[in-house]
């Protein structure tokens, strides 16, 4: 028996509950320590909506006592996948593997039902987020629609009433698309003014690239200010986290291979990601490609070099910014996959505290999911809304004028939530605040 958390043996067969290493399922000894940290259990107080309840269900499926049906699909898509349970779990249950296997089983069995869901999955998971150029094209169209105020016009003349209800609800939440995407803001290779201490790759992401390309620019700037030469391939693929979390492991593997091909790992000290959700997936390519003889070794090397930006900066030690920001209280919302997935908790706070002028205020329940959770706010709007509301309440009580967060999904969720409640709290990436401080250092 392995002394560490079991990793599913998926050398040749696709990941599934029945086919996986049974010890992963057995690792849960149902002590219940996860219960108070699970947002869905907190809402319903029903065991089936808790981590240990879901694992019991998964185990029953592996044991052949239950089948992969609609009820199971509903439950597994009600789970946020926030991974708060993994932080709480003393036994070290590998919930990410269980979660991905369960969702893969559901897709395999086509247990989740058809209809509109199929269209959205086809559009997002199988099409847009597989084709970076197409995604950017759609981004441009969306930008045109937004910046010509067509959206406002459509809403005014009531045209949106013709759209399906779900689309109508979602449309105002659509992120504002940036004027320029990352490749227009960042050169393929940029060197710091002084001596290069390190050479790193920069991952620009999908949503980050469309809606927050300025955060990518800021990330490059902060890296340059700390002696890192930055390599940023202009056309990058999605990391595949969206696919892995939604039961499409084969597509996730294909994307992982593309990313491995894109970077010359030997020439880099690190590959940097600034989005919590992506990072949590990016660091586990070795597990994903375990059965791939050609890519396995490279995936191992990749996992070692893949670093969250905050983690990397604290590791190499930053030169403290001399210039400060206007005096303001700033709080910090933790992206689930940054704090629970990657266990990066202290570093973003450390960086924020290093910025002169900022008064750092702790956010109550800072590591409680905001409801964004990938595409959860689209698939489960009710529960997502509850969590969003709870988060915004906490933010407003801190008195902070700015909330920092390091994941595009959370970023949008907070922007929308704050706007809905009429609050003027700004949402920023910690690295953007840091970049601004460097700029003011002159």
């Amino acid at each position: 028996m392995s002394e560490t958390t079991g990793i599913a043996n998926q050398a040749s067969s696709p990941l599934s509950l029945k086919g996986m290493d049974y010890s992963v399922l057995q690792q849960c000894m149902h002590c219940g320590m996860c219960l108070p940290t699970c947002p869905t259990y907190d809402t319903t107080r029903l065991e089936r909506n808790s981590p240990r309840g879901r694992i019991a269900w998964m185990r029953a499926i592996a044991d052949g006592e239950m089948s992969v049906d609609k009820a199971f699909a509903d439950e597994m898509y009600y789970c946020l996948g926030c991974l708060a349970c993994t932080t709480a779990c003393p036994a070290g249950v590998d919930y990410p593997t269980l979660f991905e296997a369960a969702r893969a089983d559901i897709e395999q069995a086509e247990a989740a039902g058809h209809g509109q869901r199929d269209f959205w999955r086809w559009l997002a998971v199988k099409t847009l987020f597989m084709r970076p150029r197409l995604l950017r094209f759609v981004g441009r169209v969306l930008r045109l629609y937004q910046w010509t105020n067509t959206d406002v016009f459509f809403r005014k003349i009531g045209l949106m009433r013709l759209a399906p209800a779900r689309l109508r609800e979602l449309e105002p939440q659509t992120p504002r698309v940036c004027a320029k995407f990352s490749h227009q803001l960042i050169e393929p290779e940029e060197k710091p003014t002084g001596e290069s201490r390190y050479r790193v790759g920069l991952l620009t992401g999908c949503v980050q690239d469309l809606a927050f390309s300025d955060i990518n620019r800021d990330t490059a700037d902060v890296l340059l200010a700390n002696g890192c030469a930055v390599v940023t391939p202009p056309v990058q693929s999605c990391c595949g986290s969206l696919h892995a979390h939604n039961g499409e492991l084969e597509l996730a593997r294909e994307l992982a291979r593309r990313n491995l091909d894109l970077f010359d790992l030997d020439s880099l000290d690190a590959v940097i990601t600034n989005a919590g959700g992506c990072g949590s997936h990016l660091k586990h390519y070795a597990k994903l490609l375990d059965g791939d003889v050609k890519y396995r070794d490279r995936a191992h090397a990749w996992d070692k070099k893949c670093k969250d930006i905050h983690e990397w900066l604290v590791e190499i030690g930053i030169s403290p910014p001399k210039g400060g920001l206007a005096e303001q209280a700033v709080t910090y919302h933790e992206s689930c996959h940054l704090c629970h997935g990657q266990k990066v908790k202290a570093q973003p706070r450390e960086l924020l505290r290093a910025i002169p002028g900022l008064e750092f205020v702790e956010l109550p329940e800072s590591d409680w999911c905001c409801g964004s959770a990938g595409i959860y706010n689209i698939t489960q709007p009710e529960q997502a809304g509850k969590l969003q509301h709870r988060k915004v309440e906490h933010i407003s009580k801190t008195g902070a004028v700015c909330v920092a967060t390091a994941n595009p999904g959370c970023h949008l969720q907070l922007v929308n939530g704050l706007r809905e409640q009429g609050l003027t709290v700004e949402v920023r990436h910690p690295i953007s605040l840091l970049a601004e401080a460097y700029r003011r250092s002159g």
């Binding site: 028996m1 057995q26 690792q27 002590c31 019991a56 269900w57 029953a60 239950m66 199971f72 036994a91």
Partner: protein
């Protein structure tokens, strides 16, 4: 059982019957015990509970009461096709009486919430089972739970002034009062404390609170063997110091806890003592200094003081994870709570170690050294029937030895299913018969938690 009838007698949304909804109620925190119920009900008050018990009485249906399902003796594992009565929707703090230092609560309130409520008024609810973030007060009372502060503050029983319960015929009874002194009639309140849901369902609890200690100091001492740690504990108490906590962890437990919590526990020692003293600031400083000195005198390799409250809390939280953290080594952790008079602790620890070795089993130990409550934990795999058989053998020997030292088979987890068959060993036949007689007189049909504490009759 007529489930439609049961559902009709309770408010809407109070009953679960779908297989997938029931499945996660088939177990509690105990390893390797599982049984599917026919229904799970969520009463909102004593009247709902009475309705459920009257229904059960009519239909001869067994009822198992459950809170958060963190029990470690199988006490809330369902009876096959029976009803699980879950108290989680009875979760109100009804009153905090600062003049009488008392708090009235419903059974589904989490233990941690009780202490947080008390703290708002400068008061303190001391019993702190390791599962306190999850466990309910109802479950604590029904199992007379202990915790890390037993040595100085006692256990749950010492903080229950009164309780309301529904007995099997559906009658709602109140036992106890806010009076410090009350000798009216038999003390039936105490009968219900630790009754493990076999006599009635507790629906309200009047708790005693104490002033919150103003200061606390936390110490860690490391040892190259367990005996020295045990000697330190005895010497501290002999020096007329009663610390609130004296926990010990063996090497394997330290490693697992550190692997999970990353709090900087020293992993290069055989035993670790985690000690806390609380009370008046001046006394606490004095006692902490004396404890550190005694620890060094009795061979501690290193003694460190927690820097601040945050670090102390981190260490205590890490200690509370010990049981589950041990699952990192092997998937099934069979945790026992054999308890002996403090003076016999070192002998008991040694015996457990030898017994584990004799049966070729992996054993980790931790526990409440200050009160003689030990947690020898077998690390095994429930799928390995041959090894599980050896675990049972070893457990049986450990229980016998504990009894021979004047100890008990269970200090704080309860008898439940897991220790039921060992219970007669601890009592002479006449005493055991008296226990059964109490059960039979309150629950003649044997419908409340049947099979727990006693085997099912007939």
């Amino acid at each position: 059982m007529n489930l439609t009838e049961l559902t009709s007698r309770l408010p809407e949304g109070s009953v679960l019957t779908a297989r997938e909804d029931l499945l996660p109620y088939a177990f509690d925190g105990t390893a390797a015990l599982k049984q599917m119920p026919a229904a799970v009900v969520f009463p909102r008050n004593a009247e709902d509970v009475a309705a459920v018990l009257r229904f059960a009485d009519e239909q001869n249906a067994p009822v198992v009461t459950r809170g958060s399902g963190t029990g470690l003796s199988g006490g809330s594992v369902p009876v096959k096709n029976g009803i699980v009565l879950c108290t989680l929707r009875m979760d109100k703090v009804l009153e905090v009486d600062t003049r009488n230092l008392a708090m009235m609560v419903e059974p589904g309130v989490l233990t941690k919430v009780i202490d947080e409520e008390a703290a708002k008024h400068g008061l303190f609810y001391p019993p702190d089972p390791s599962s306190m973030k999850v466990s309910t007060i109802g479950g604590n009372v029904a199992n007379n739970s202990g915790g890390l502060r037993g040595l100085k503050y006692g256990v749950t029983r010492d903080y229950v002034m009164g309780l309301e319960a529904v007995i099997p015929d559906g009658e709602i009874v109140w036992l106890g009062s806010k009076c410090v002194k009350d000798v009216a009639g038999y003390n039936l309140r105490d009968l219900f404390i630790g009754s493990e849901g076999t006599l009635g369902v507790i629906t309200r609890i009047l708790l005693k609170l104490v002033p919150r200690p103003k200061a606390k100091r936390t110490l860690l001492a490391t040892y190259s063997d367990i005996e020295r740690a045990a000697e330190t504990v005895s010497a501290v108490i002999e020096a007329k110091i009663i610390p609130c906590t004296m926990e010990f962890l063996d090497r394997m437990t330290i490693r697992c806890v550190e692997d999970f919590a990353h709090v900087g526990l020293p992993t290069d020692c055989e035993a670790l003592l985690f000690m806390e003293t609380d009370g008046h600031p001046a006394v606490v400083e004095e006692e902490a200094a004396a404890m550190a000195e005694i620890a060094r005198k009795y061979g501690a390799k290193e003694v460190t003081l927690a820097a601040d409250e945050a670090q102390a809390l981190q260490l205590a939280t890490a200690r509370r994870s010990a049981f589950a953290a041990l699952a990192r080594i092997k998937p099934t952790t069979i945790l026992e709570d054999a308890t002996v008079p403090r003076s016999e602790l070192a002998r008991m620890v040694r015996f457990c170690e030898e017994t584990g070795k004799k049966h070729g089993l992996q054993l980790a130990s931790f526990g409440h050294m200050g009160d003689g409550n030990l947690h020898p934990t077998f690390l095994t795999n429930e799928k390995d029937t041959e090894e599980m058989h050896r675990v049972e053998q070893a457990m049986s020997e450990i229980f016998d030895f504990a009894i021979s030292l004047g100890g008990t088979i269970t200090g704080e987890h309860g008898v439940g299913l897991a220790k039921r068959d060992f219970l007669p060993r601890q009592f002479d036949p006449g005493s055991y018969a008296l226990l059964s007689k109490v059960k039979a007189s309150l629950d003649p049909k044997g419908l409340l938690n049947p099979g727990k504490i006693f085997p099912v009759q007939g």
